[in-house]
């Protein structure tokens, strides 16, 4: 990882977090779909990043999100879960020949199919976990499920939109 890409990564993190805090965190469609765009900072980390470091980084992102939502621990737990699943999902959808250093998590680099099968399961598992803990009531599981599905779409679109705005179509 050269210094240029490190700077770019930090920039990305700052952009995702500030955009979320300033704009996207306030948006919701009904009481069902919420955008958790800050997850982009986690999801778009380099493929070859050390999973342990990703998990610790997820804890940090979770602390920031929790201080924004004033819900100590809930987003931390969900982000750590996301980081754990991330390495598993990356292993499952590894392309033939393995990951190359130039590969990045983006549609131009990996293709739309790979991108979807990476993003959607991770976003969905994170959201479902988050909503279930948030409601703290298994009787509301159907509601949590609906919210998780709707929010997955919303989060996915906002993350993809932000990513395209920053990166353009560069490989």
């Amino acid at each position: 990882m050269n210094s240029r890409s490190l700077i770019f990564l930090l920039l990305e993190v700052v952009v995702f977090l500030s955009l979320h805090v300033l704009i996207l965190g306030h948006l919701s469609i009904g009481s069902y779909a919420f955008s958790f765009a800050y997850l982009g900072a986690l999801l778009l980390m380099p493929i070859t990043a050390n999973p342990v470091r990703v998990m610790l980084f997820a804890l940090l992102v979770g602390i920031v999100a929790d201080s924004y939502y004033n819900s100590i621990g809930i987003h931390m737990a969900s982000c750590v879960l996301l980081a754990f699943f991330r390495s598993a999902v990356l292993n499952w959808i590894v392309p033939a020949g393995g990951y190359e250093p130039y590969m990045r998590i983006s549609i131009p680099s990996m293709g739309i199919k790979w991108y979807l099968s990476y993003m959607l399961p991770l976003l969905f598992s994170h959201h479902l976990f988050l909503f279930v803990i948030d409601h703290a009531n298994l009787g509301q599981f159907p509601l949590a499920l609906i919210q998780a599905v709707a929010s997955t779409a919303f989060s996915f679109l906002s993350i993809m939109f932000i990513q395209l705005s920053i990166e353009g179509t560069r490989m």
Binding site: M55, L56, L59, I72, G73, I74, A77, F84, I133, A136
Partner: protein, 280 residues
Amino acid sequence: MGSLFQFLFKYRLFFLFVLLEMLCSWLIFNNNTNQRLAFISSSNSAVARVLSLNQKVQDYFALQVINSNLADENARLNTELTNARLQLDKMGMDTTKPLNELEQYTFKVAKVINNSVSRVNNYLTLDKGFADGIRNGMGVISPAGVVGSILVCSEHYSTATSLLHSKMLISAEIKRISAFGTVKWTGGDPTIADLDFIAPHLQPEKGDTIITSEYSSILPKDIMVGVIDQIELAQNGNFYKIKIKLATDFSTLGYVYIVENKYKTEKDSLQFNTSKEFNE
């Protein structure tokens, strides 16, 4: 030790994950009222359910002890009740007698460990014997009514002649009209017995209560025997032929009380000597 570290290192991501989630859970439960309440109430209801189930199971195993305690308690209350009745009866007659001398009957509880109802002569086996103060000829009653009398005693067991025995006679009376008769079982249905020697000038009715009379030396009076089920005049016309429904269900006997009459020997020997004198 080395392989342990190897194992830990191999799955370090998983262990880190579990550790961090535990930390997060701790944070969540400590800082979020909703989640803490949900956790506390669900764990409380789970614990309460386990505890109540536990109590039920323990209650079930304690039933035997409770049963025998209740039977003991009943025996004690029966003793007190019977003696109190007797004292009431006799206090008016002789005020110089100390009350404890009037305690004529004592009750001991015993468990029925063998029983039959289907033979012509039926016997019960009870789990009390000589060692518990049981003697031949004592009366046996159940909470519902008369059962029989003790026939043979061993050290720790005794056999009782059931009322369902061809040679067993119980001196009884119809409570409403104080008419004396003898209850006898003639075989067959273990819930039905005969009441003999009720003279035709009396008017027994269906449903009248039959109790033990004072003539019996083995049983206290006023012990339930049964109720009149069927009345007809016998063919020779001297007595009624009365069928009674027995109060005691002999097929389900669990605990019985053995009744000791303190004055039985005295009464029996007096009656025996009298009859001998007159027969000679």
